[in-house]
Amino acid sequence: MTAPVLILGATSDMGRAIAHRFAAQGYPIQLAARQVSRLEADKADLQIRYGVAVSLHEFDVLAVETHASFIQELPEQPAIVICVVGFMPDQKACEQDLSLALEVMRTNYEGPAVILSLFANVFEQRGFGTLVGISSVAGERGRASNYFYGSAKAGFTAFLSGLRHRLAQSGVQTLTVLPGYVHTRMTEGMKLPPLLTAQPQEVANAIFSAIEKKKDVIYVRPIWRWIMVVIRWLPEPLFKRLSL
């Protein structure tokens, strides 16, 4: 009997796709999100399709003081934790309403970093496990169009990198996932270039194989690696003039 996969942010499109990918492989699934009632249908769905055990867990990424008890109350410690939590409202709205901006920063950085830190301690002691953080290419350079979101993701990427460094000798894998554009609720209605835009299932497949291959950092679509090389190395005076 394999230990389960825990998905934090399971009501999201990516979270759902990831749950299907791992359930199809026979993993028991733990789904966690704020409104657990919204996951009842997913639970039935995963059970009927794949015949795996599925459990539901209330989880609020912003309520960091509850994270330790969340972990303690899990019926079984997961083999793999995947943090899909993310929040990207309109940048302009954030500039006007700093409480919204704060929520972006806390949801994309503080909350995920706290919960994964706590799991890291458990996994390190145990000597095995996989921690997966879905970060973003937006974290690789701040841009006018989404720097609240981008800066929080930058923090999360750096956090994952540090965590991986710390856990390198412990038998615990830390995987950073940089999806690029994905067709999800977050990007709905945006004009996205098809070549650069993945489906949630692609993200799920990429994560699954990256875990098998013990990877550290993956771009879901490889072309993003090169795009980001260029964007990172553009000199600031030039970068300032571009509308990105």
Binding site: T11, A41, A44, D45, V61, E103, T107, R185, G189
Partner: protein, 452 residues
């Protein structure tokens, strides 16, 4: 996280499977019932959309098209009764992939598996077994409908009976179908024992159908360019679910596994006019000869038997960028021979030969507004052009003359007058819609065109 963003629709050029008409639509992709509810409460008349397999404008609404594909979960399965409970956006293809290996098959299936549960109910689809087992409603135990006022009604033949029978075949105009329970049939194998017969003309086809009343599945492919004494020459395919014992030894070991079919994609639009009388004639001739060679009994996997065109992904592109229209009518038994012959005459005379012409026998109907009636249904498709519309006008006239009616899931051309002449149930449907204010909340480009 945080409060879910609602009401964020986006503008998209949308069309049905026939790629005609194309219409800019505000598309909404809700993830939860409360989001649908909010949209409903905003007062926009909306239409639910599944996988966009209706041919015309049935699932388009410029103001608000509700994309239901995120409601794609299976909620329950009872292995004693074969009852499956599924959300409206579940694809039939997913159900088949999952349940055929487990020994189950839908009681009723249309000719493509790329349809959603909600779509099958809204069009009350029929299959090759309609003459014997009826349309989708026959397999439907209940459905949950979100309707005017934001109420969710459980509808079945015993509960909210009228709403149930108006919704089945109601083209999404009574509310938003959220989920449904319907039955699958147990199958021993994934194979169909197929008997292929050749009919030299229309009379022979109909005689073959009449003689095959007890056969579960029957369908005919008509060479609709054949003329004179050959008018209506057809390949008739009859099928039964094969039992394990009937199967050839090589399949018997794993009777519910079938080889995966190779999928071909049509990567680009064919040039307009690539399908002309000449190429269609050549295709029909080849197909006919090929089938003639295969006449007799054979074992065919379920995918090939039920969904022959699905292996050609994007086959609608064959008709070029302008798209195509499908014409499907049903003629009552008493006028079928005469009426069909006139429809085929009209088609072949116009030289507007259809790539695909399918003839099926239909049985009686239960839904208040469903398409089928006891008789014969003919489906033809034509590339969009001014000439095609003239042919359609003629075909519609003939259908009216012989007391037939039209399949709304295929339609993009009918007029309000023509629809009303064909179907005395239309006025009642409109009355009920007005009385319950369904017309305020639910509308499609089709319902606007047809004054439904």
């Amino acid at each position: 996280m945080s409060s879910p963003i609602t009401h964020r629709g986006y503008l998209q050029q949308l069309c049905g499977w026939g790629r005609y008409p194309v219409q800019p639509c505000h598309v909404y992709c809700p993830r939860s019932e409360s989001e649908i509810l909010q949209l409903l409460n905003s007062g926009l008349p909306l239409i639910a959309r599944g996988n966009g397999r209706a041919y015309g404008d049935s699932a388009l609404n410029g103001k608000a098209t509700l994309q239901m594909r995120h409601f794609n979960r299976l909620l329950g399965f009872n292995p004693q009764t074969g009852q499956l409970i599924a959300e409206a956006g579940v694809l039939l293809a997913d159900i088949l992939e999952l349940f055929v290996p487990r020994g189950w098959f839908p009681l009723i299936t249309p000719g493509t598996k790329f349809v959603t549960v909600g779509g099958m109910i809204a069009a009350d689809v029929h299959g090759k077994n309609h003459h014997k087992e009826g349309s989708f409603v026959q397999s439907l135990d209940w459905l949950d409908l979100l309707t005017t006022g934001g109420q969710i009604h459980r509808c079945s033949p015993s509960e909210n009976r009228d709403l149930f029978y108006w919704t089945v075949g109601g083209m999404g105009l009574t509310g938003v179908i959220l989920r449904a329970a319907f039955r699958l049939r147990p199958i021993e194998t994934a194979w169909i024992r197929q008997t292929t017969r050749i009919a030299k003309n229309l009379d022979e086809v109909i005689n073959l159908f009449e003689a095959a009343q007890d056969v579960t599945y029957s369908v005919a492919w008509i060479d609709c360019l054949a003329v004179g004494s050959q008018l209506g020459r057809s390949v008739v395919m009859l099928g039964e679910h094969a039992t394990r014992e009937e199967l050839p030894a090589k399949y018997r070991q794993r009777p519910r596994r079938t080889p995966r079919r190779r999928k071909l994609s049509i990567p680009v639009d064919f040039p307009n006019g690539a399908l002309n009388a000449l190429t269609v004639r050549a295709f029909n001739q080849l197909y006919f000869l090929n089938q003639q060679r295969k006449a007799g009994q054979s074992f065919v996997d379920w995918d090939t038997f039920f969904y022959p065109l699905d292996s050609l992904l994007g086959w609608n592109r064959i008709y070029g960028r302008r798209g195509f229209v499908q014409f499907q009518c049903v003629l009552p038994l008493r006028t079928a021979r005469e009426g069909l012959s006139e429809l085929l005459h009209c088609t072949s005379a116009a030289g507007a030969g259809s790539f695909l012409a399918v003839l099926k026998q239909l049985g009686d109907q239960q839904g208040y507004f469903s398409f089928p009636m006891a008789g014969y249904t003919l489906a033809l498709d034509f590339p969009v052009s001014q000439r095609t519309f003239k042919v359609l006008d003629q075909l519609e006239e003939i259908t009216l003359h012989y007391g037939g009616r039209f399949y709304l899931a295929k339609d993009s051309h009918l007029t309000p007058m023509c629809l009303r002449k064909s179907d005395s149930r239309v006025e009642r449907f409109v009355q009920v819609r007005n009385a319950h204010q369904w017309n305020v909340h639910f509308a499609s480009e089709q319902s606007k065109r047809l004054n439904l």
